[in-house]
Every structure is written in C-alpha cells, then in structure tokens.
Amino acid sequence: MLKFLTDLLTLRWLTGRRFVIAVPFVWLVFAFLIPFLIVARISFSEVDAGNPFGTLLTYADGIVNIKVKIANYLFIWGDELYVLTYLSSLKYAAITTLCCLVIGYPFAYFMARARASLRPVLLMMVMMPFWTSFLLRIYAWKGILANHGIANHVLMALGVIQEPLHLMNTPFSLVIGMVYAYLPFMILPLYANLSKMDMRFLEAAADLGATPMQAFWRITVPLSKSGIIAGAMLVFIPAVGEYVIPELLGGPETLMIGRVLWDEFFTNNDWPMASSVTVVVILLILVPMAILNKYQAEQREGGHK
C-alpha cells in the first residue's frame, strides 16, 4: 500500500501498460462504482427539502454522530405493495426467461446446425433488429395488440374470433414484449455455445446406439449447460428491472419494480426511498450476477478445450 502511494506520487506508475489500465479503471470507478455507493448512502438518509441527501455524519462538540436511518428498508419490508411488486417483477422475469429459452434453444440449435455458408446470414439476421430502435419496436407492439390492432383484425378476418380480444395492457402483452425484446440475448450465447460443440460426441452416441432424441437430451443439452445459464441470466437480470416495456405494454395489474422506482423518483420526488428500492433490487440480482459471471467465464474457456 505504501509503495503504491509513493509510486503514485512520483508518477513512476505511468508506464504505457498502467496508463491503458488506469484510464478505463478510473472512469469506471467514478461513473459506476461511486454512484452505487452514493445510492447506498442516500438510502439511509431522510427526506429533507433543503438537502436531498440528508445528513449522515454530523460533527458537534467534538463528537461525530452517525445517523443511520433504516426506516426506508423497514417500510419496504412492511409494505405489502412493495413486497408484491418485487415478487411480481421476479415472476415476470422468470416467465420471460422461460419463454425465451423454449423459443430460443431450438432456434439457436437449428442455426448452429444449418449449412456453414448460411450461418453468418442467419446470425446477421438475429443481430439486425438491434440496429433498429428498441423503443420503436416495442411501440409497434402497441399497434399490433391494440383492440383495433392488427392481431385482432387478422384473427377476426380468419373467423377465429367474433369480438376483438383485449390483449393490450395485460400480463400477456407485457410478456410478449419482454420475450420479443430479450430473445436475441438468449439466442446469441446459445448459438455461440452450440456451434462450438464437438460433433464427435454425437457420432459416438449414435455408434453406441442412442436415438437422436436420447443423444440430444443426454449429450447436447448437458454440454450446452453453460450457454443455457449464461443466456438465462442475460435475460433474467435486466428483465427484473425493466421499465420501458411495462410502461408501454403492461397494464395496471402488472406490477414491476422498475416502474415503482421511477415513480418514487420522478413523481414522489422521494430520493431516499427510491435509493432504498434500488439497493434492494441490486441485492436481488447480485446472486444471478455472480452465476452469470461464473458461466460466462466457463463459456469463454469452453471453446478452447
């Protein structure tokens, strides 16, 4: 530590390598780490009109007073609405992840098994929607699912239904939007994983008498475990805190924590409360985050085995 400090002061640290590391490191600490610490700190303070940060440390008569207010957290814990909202965010994130997996796994599988010349095109076509505005693509679903929207027109023209279905602002429209937005995040890691798979394992299985179905369940799926988990986490974590999709496609009964946080901040102007809600969300996604890191590392190394 002392050596570090003297090096720091004498500019001896400024080698090319250190410079390359230091520039993004310092930036990330200031733009990412410190903001979280500030949020954590504000979450323990009181609402104060003059000073939105409240006072945590006061110094009077030679005594340092630390005032930690955990009322916000107790309030979140005691309030049924907050607890329900957290649970419902987790529920919708889980449903989204599951739907993405069910649609995305076969998709990635068939992509990886397509002709080699076709694969770059198929991959490009999955990436293309990324280049078009996410906001506008979600907005388009409003037009598709509205009462007088395209889905209802088509279904009525086909004679499947007589009356327009109420699709918009329901859990259904929310899930459609979430699955739509996050599907590529499931497909891409799965594709990366499945296309790297050693096909000799399947040949060996076939030689040993496994049917294609058995080979799939007992070889392909277990081998792609790290891809499945990486994809699932890439969908689940951002889905928990999603704001735009629930706001545009969700209904009043679809509680999502991102919206509550937003309202707490922009409508109620309660910064300490918004900060506490944020801290709880971060705590909720820390475990999935750790899982993601583990399996992403595995996924990277898996390719060179």
């Binding site: 590391i21 903001p35 280049w131 906001l135 907005y139 388009a140 704001y243």
Partner: protein
Amino acid sequence: MKGSWIQRWFGRGWLSLGYCFLYLPIVVLVVFSFNESRQDMVWSGFSLRWYSELVKDSEILSGFGLSLRIAVLTACSSVLLGTFVAFVLDRYRRFPGRTLFSGMASAPLVMPEVIIGLSLLLMLVSVQKVFGFPERGLTTIWIGHTLLGMAYAAVVVQSRLQEMSKSLEEAAMDLGCKPFQVFFLVTLPNIKQALASAWLLTFTLSLDDVVLSAFLSGPGSSTMPLVIFSRARLGLDPRVNAVATITILVVSIGVIVSSIYLARAERLRQKQIAAAFKGDAD
C-alpha cells in the same frame, strides 16, 4: 450428421417463425407509416401525409438534433474507452483489481438501466453541488450513454482482439517496434472493422436510449426518444411510424454500406497478407 427429413423441415419452420416474430414489428412500423388513416391500424390507402406532418413537428426535430449530437459524441468516447477496456481484458491477464475491473466493465450490459440512471444522476447531482457543474443536459446524458456504450464497444472489440493472431504483433516487436508503434501500425489496422462496427452500434444505442436520457436530461434537453416515449405512453401517434421508417431506412443503409465496405477492406487485407507471404517465399 444429416437429420431426417422431418427434423430438417421442423428446423426450417422454427427458424422462419422465429424470424417472423423478430421482424413483425419492424414491418408493421414501415407499412403503417404510409397509411392514410388517422386511426392507426386500419389500412385506408397509401399516403405520405405523416412524413409531411413530421417535417412540421418542431419538438421531434429539435429532439433529433440533440440526439444526433449526443450520439456522435457517445460513439467516439465509447469506442475509445471500450478499446482500452477490451485491450486490458484481452492482454493484461494479471493486475491488481482485475476481477473488479472486468466486473465493472461488463455489469452495465445487464444492470437494469433504471438503476444505472438513478445512481449516476445522484452522483452527478452531488458533483454539481460541490463544483457547480455539470448542468443536467447534453453533458450528463453523454456521460451516461458512454458508460453503457463503452461496455458494448468493449465486447465487440474484445471478440476481434481474441481472434487476431498475436504473431503479427510479436513479429513487429522483434523487428524493433516500440509498444505504441506496434499498436498503431499492427493492432489498430487489424481491429479497424471492429472499431467501425462498435462505433455504429454505440451510435444507434445512444440514439435510441430512453431510460438513461430521462434520468440525466434537464429542462429543455429532451432527446428524440424521450419525445417519442412520452407520446407513445399516451397512445398511438402515426408520426412516430414515420420517424421509425426513416430511422430504419437510414440505419439499414448505413449497416449495409458499411458491411460491404468492411467486407471489401477485409478481402483486400487478406490479399495483401497473402501477397506478402508469397513475396517472402520468392
């Protein structure tokens, strides 16, 4: 291994349905931007009236100007910082704090944007209280977008760095290049395409962002997505379809032109490398 007939057709069907799902909203936006009717999703005839109304819409136009400026700034700073990050992650296997570094570099990719936006804003407000700047507006939005863009740029650049053969750099080093010369003469030309696509990606990312912009914008600094978002919340607005079609058009032209250009540059480079090796052999 060839699958059976049924498997092949099942595969094709699944892929087609999947692509339909991914492209349906895009097609809908484009088709209905030419719709005559005010009532959105009923086709009543071809018309360009929403485009002409768009030109008169000063709110969207000024939002677009601001968005464009922020996007250019963001793309440049994100690619610069993202390249640093990618380089560090790919080349420097050991240094104190590497775990923290790689965690922080990739966390913005998955971290819900509401959280990033809120925490960044609270920090910027505290900085502003002490130093009197930055005022909420272009600068603060730029900072937020760069944080996000950098993470994406790093992924794109890093995957190219991983593929790149290190022997070229080693050869340059053996021939007496200084590290920064190696970087500018060997590494940079090799990752040029990745830098270009990272620039485009972060540019469109910034042009599209709602949540971070909402937290970090100040009075009078509404970016285009913020304007669109506030209208989309209220209901359907056919002018938004026109905006969508124009951005889709511009972006696809950009992507197609740049990918053709990049593919050509890549072929040329391969040819030069081949020629160089051939020259060696003679």
